[in-house]
């Protein structure tokens, strides 16, 4: 089984971090992984994306051009990438940031007001994790326990309190049915 995942949004929305969590989950399960950030003269507010490939086989090109799973956190990324999702793939869209809707019927699209949900629940900047929660709920790739391990591995001791917040954000996304 191979999952090619693309996460995209603005710099500062935690795109790379969300990708890293998926990569660490895969590491714990002994999968082949590649994690590739877009990099450039970019900054908070600039465009940002992250390719994550998780597979049982050795991975060729690490660039995800036609994702099985797409996570988008802003309008420009929606315009740039929705057309590239593999037929049969799934897209997870932060509908509080993206006004557009896709007319594609060959993919499953989940609109989650992730930024709004995060803000309403005192989880500012948690939209990335809310969408990740929805993605995991819909695909079942990794359990929440595995994500907790990944969070523990990637959270410095002085920010340990954010682990529970992130777990709450995951649950918010998973529970969102709208």
């Amino acid at each position: 089984m191979t999952y090619e995942i693309l996460l995209a949004g603005f710099g500062g929305q935690g795109i790379l971090f969300a990708g890293k969590l998926l990569a660490y989950c895969a590491l714990f399960e002994g999968k082949e992984i590649s994690w590739l950030p877009s990099y450039g003269p970019e900054m908070r507010g600039g465009k940002c994306n992250c390719s994550v490939t998780i597979s049982d086989e050795p991975i060729g090109s690490p660039q995800v051009l036609e994702p099985d799973l797409l996570v988008v956190l802003n309008g420009p990324s929606f315009d740039a990438f929705m057309g590239n999702v593999k037929p049969g793939g799934k897209a997870f869209v932060d509908s509080s940031m993206v006004a557009q809707k896709t007319d594609r019927t060959d993919i499953e699209t989940f609109y989650v007001p992730a930024t709004q949900l995060a803000d309403d629940n005192n989880l500012a900047k948690g939209a990335n994790i809310v969408l990740l929660g929805k993605l995991l709920h819909e695909t079942g790739i990794f359990s929440f326990e595995t994500v907790r391990k990944a969070l523990e591995k990637n959270t410095p001791a002085k920010r340990a309190h954010t682990i529970d917040n992130n777990m709450r954000a995951l649950q918010l996304g998973a529970d969102y049915a709208g």
Partner: protein
């Protein structure tokens, strides 16, 4: 040891410390910065020296100085920085001292772009400075291979008393993959015959120098160096082959591009196109015999590179032009897609579909 996730640049830095590298001299540049950042944090804690020089030119001359004392030493940069270092690299080659030079390539010429490229193939394999000389050029294609080749690079440099380059690129440097650090005990080759590390008034001076007043002396020195190069060409070439045995079309690609090529070869095979992949791991020495063996049943060769066509020259030379060799590449920091390479394979296999 358990696998960890690391960026190519960070893994390279960790591997260098584990390989016994004691000194790093460099100057920051994207996309290699994580490498020097990692060493800046770790070297002082682990018995080494990290020094950010005032320029690339200064850094490479510090490398020459440290290498002359027989110390395991390295520098790293990206394309424009390597150009600046080329004078010093020529001096290092002319002084017959070992060191590791890392080039995390980006787009050129000039300041170019900071995205991945392989536009320095010619520079690395044919012209890294003035004079008759070579570097051994190692071109890994995964984070794990980056780690494995770092120790090898130091060992080869000391074995043959010459600079070795590890040619990476922005893609390999920035991507994270699971990686394992093999248990190694760094073994430094005996350098007591040449290292300039103090006579203690007990022996003649060792002189590390690249200047020869008498032309005949220099000629002899260069010829001796070329005897070593001949031995390296005979014994140190490395390559990987993938599905070449029955292949009609052999794709040649190195470094990150070979990953793209491998995806394309797999897609081609799924369509019934008999494609295979030949990946040189050493770019100098170029694995000529290995390429010829891989091409024994081939009818055509496609060189895929992140440049306008540089390695293709060595592919043609190695094959004595007995097979048609075509080229596909993207340049300036653009990474080719497997689909584009597949399209070329379809054409070679009998027309576009």
């Amino acid at each position: 040891m358990e696998k960890v996730l690391m960026k190519g640049n960070e893994a390279l830095a960790e591997a260098a410390i584990r390989a016994g590298c004691k000194c790093f001299f460099g100057y920051p540049i994207t996309p290699q910065t994580e490498l020097s950042e990692y060493l800046a944090k770790q070297m002082p804690k682990r018995g080494g020296v990290f020094l950010q020089a005032e320029s690339e030119v200064a850094a490479i001359n510090m490398v020459l100085g440290a290498a002359g004392t027989g110390t395991r030493v390295m520098t790293s940069s990206s394309s424009p920085g390597i150009s600046l270092k080329s004078e010093g690299i020529s001096y290092i080659a002319g002084s017959d001292v070992p060191c590791l030079i890392v080039n995390v390539e980006r787009g050129g010429p000039g300041l170019g772009s900071i995205q991945p490229s392989q536009q320095d193939y010619w520079q690395a394999t044919k012209g890294l400075g003035h004079g008759d000389f070579h570097l051994i050029i190692l071109a890994p294609n995964s984070v794990q291979e980056v780690v494995n080749l770092v120790t090898k690079a130091f060992d080869l440099g000391e074995k043959y008393r010459m600079p070795v380059m590890l040619l990476s690129d922005g893609l390999l440097g920035q991507m994270m993959e699971p990686v394992e650090f093999p248990e190694i005990t760094p073994s430094q080759a005996d350098n007591s015959a040449w290292a300039a590390c103090g006579t203690k008034m007990e022996r003649e001076h060792h002189i590390v120098n690249s200047l020869y007043i008498e032309a005949l002396d220099l000629e002899e020195q260069v010829k001796r160096r070329y005897e070593r190069y001949a031995k390296i060409e005979e014994t140190e070439a490395m390559a990987e082959t993938y599905l070449c045995e029955d292949a009609d079309i052999i794709v040649t690609a190195f470094g990150a591009t070979s990953r793209v090529a491998k995806s394309a070869v797999n897609k081609a095979r799924a369509e019934g196109i008999k494609a295979g992949l030949f990946r040189p791991i050493t770019l100098w020495p170029f694995p000529k015999a290995e390429l010829n063996a891989a091409c024994k049943n081939a009818k055509a060769v496609l060189s895929v590179e992140m440049n306008m066509g540089q390695m293709i020259d060595d592919v043609k030379l190695a094959l004595d032009c007995r097979l048609p060799v075509s080229f596909f590449g993207r340049t300036g920091g653009v990474v080719p897609s497997p689909k584009e390479v597949l399209e070329e394979l379809r054409k070679l296999n009998g027309g576009a579909q």
